[in-house]
């Protein structure tokens, strides 16, 4: 530690600008930006590039604000888990009160600015998303129920709906199916991670499904949610926002996802531990590409429609 990063009076590490950026969970924000951008671009009508850019920025800022509120409230359990120990609040670089102030200020600012830039339906949805993630998920249900991941997934599923609403001023079945895609994808994605990161959640006493209902039940739930995910993903392919690229991608990606989820379900713990949770890690890694490629395919179809290629 150098003088440049240490408070001379208190001896504690002092926050740099990057620590405040970390407070907004930039990695989560990147997924929010991408899915909101797709929601915005595939929506009928369209907005000027400047308004679209501003909308995406304020949606991302709102997501960052809820991340800061999450870090403020969860500092006690973040301190215990290896994965989160280095975050700005548990490491002492940013004061918890400061994280709360930043979270509240950015929440108000992002909602107000999104309302002024686009419309108040989108702003209302952003406000609800922040409330849902910070209060319903973080403060209430995360420590109460093993279904926390399912509930948290709803907050992560809102950005494409907000992007859609920013253009259309309403919510339609296409937007709801984009919501459903992320919502159904979240449990198998995170539970696959929880299967090979078991010690962390257990030590923090977060009621992760692996701890409360056992690992065999978690494997079964991964399979059930994967089965529910496939019709939602394919259903989106039948709406006007999708085209041949999405439909082809959805068929292939969901077939692979189901095969990998089935493999995770059928394995016992001894086999999984023997190969270092290879199947679980494979499903987790694939789930990242799965979501990215689905939304990427929607973008590709929108581009095809715009250029008139393939008659779509």
């Amino acid at each position: 530690m150098t003088d440049a990063t240490t408070n001379a009076t208190t001896g504690t590490p002092e926050a740099q600008f990057g620590d405040y950026v970390q407070l907004l969970k930039p990695r989560v924000m990147s997924l929010v930006v991408f899915t909101a951008l797709v929601g915005l671009l595939v929506a009928p009508g369209g907005v000027s590039p400047m308004i679209g850019l501003a909308a995406i920025l304020f949606i991302a800022l709102g997501a960052g604000a809820s991340g800061a509120l999450n870090m403020w409230y969860d500092a006690d359990i973040d301190r215990i888990m290896k994965r989160t120990r280095g975050r700005p609040v548990p490491s002492g670089r940013v004061d918890a009160g400061e994280a709360l102030s930043i979270g509240i200020a950015l929440s108000v600012m992002s909602v107000a600015m999104l309302g002024l830039a686009t419309n108040w339906v989108a702003a209302g949805l952003l406000a609800f998303t922040i409330f849902f993630y910070a209060v319903i998920y973080t403060m209430w249900l995360k420590r109460l129920t093993p279904q926390n991941i399912v509930i948290g997934g709803a907050a992560g599923a809102f950005p494409p709906v907000i992007g859609w609403a920013a253009v259309t001023g309403s919510v339609s079945v296409e937007a709801l199916l984009m919501f459903g895609l992320i919502f159904m994808w979240t449990p198998p994605h995170f539970w696959a991670l929880a299967l090979f990161m078991k010690a962390d959640y257990h030590e923090a006493k977060v009621p992760m499904l692996t701890v409360t209902h056992g690992r065999t039940e978690t494997r079964r739930q991964i399979w059930i949610y994967s089965l529910l995910l496939a019709p939602v993903a394919l259903g989106l392919g039948l709406t006007p926002v999708a085209g041949p690229v999405y439909l082809a991608a959805a068929v292939v990606l969901n077939a692979i996802f189901l095969i990998r989820a089935f493999a995770v379900w059928r394995r016992d713990e001894a086999t999984a531990e023997a190969d270092g949770f290879a199947a679980e890690k494979r499903l987790f890694r694939f789930s990242l590409s799965y979501l990215f490629l689905h939304f990427g395919a929607l973008l590709a179809d929108a581009a095809l429609r715009l250029t008139g290629v393939m008659g779509v």
Partner: protein, 68 residues
């Protein structure tokens, strides 16, 4: 007496202050860009309530009305 000596605190917080300054400049640029975009979009709107301004809407040509 003018303050000429830079305190250690100033050096330590330079990066943070620069980041905040750049964020504020970026925010101002976005608000300015939004204003320009809104004005361009709303060219045919009344300013006071953002309603379509009928008085400047180009007349719709209707061939049957003027016999052409």
């Amino acid at each position: 007496m003018p303050i000429t000596q830079t305190h250690e605190l100033h050096t330590r917080r330079f990066g943070r202050n620069l980041g905040v300054a750049l964020s504020l400049v970026a925010f101002a640029a976005i608000v300015f860009g939004l204003t320009v975009a809104k004005i361009r979009e709303g060219a045919s709107m009344e300013a006071y309530d953002h309603q379509p301004r009928v008085s400047i809407t180009p007349p719709v040509s209707n061939g049957s009305e003027d016999g052409q």
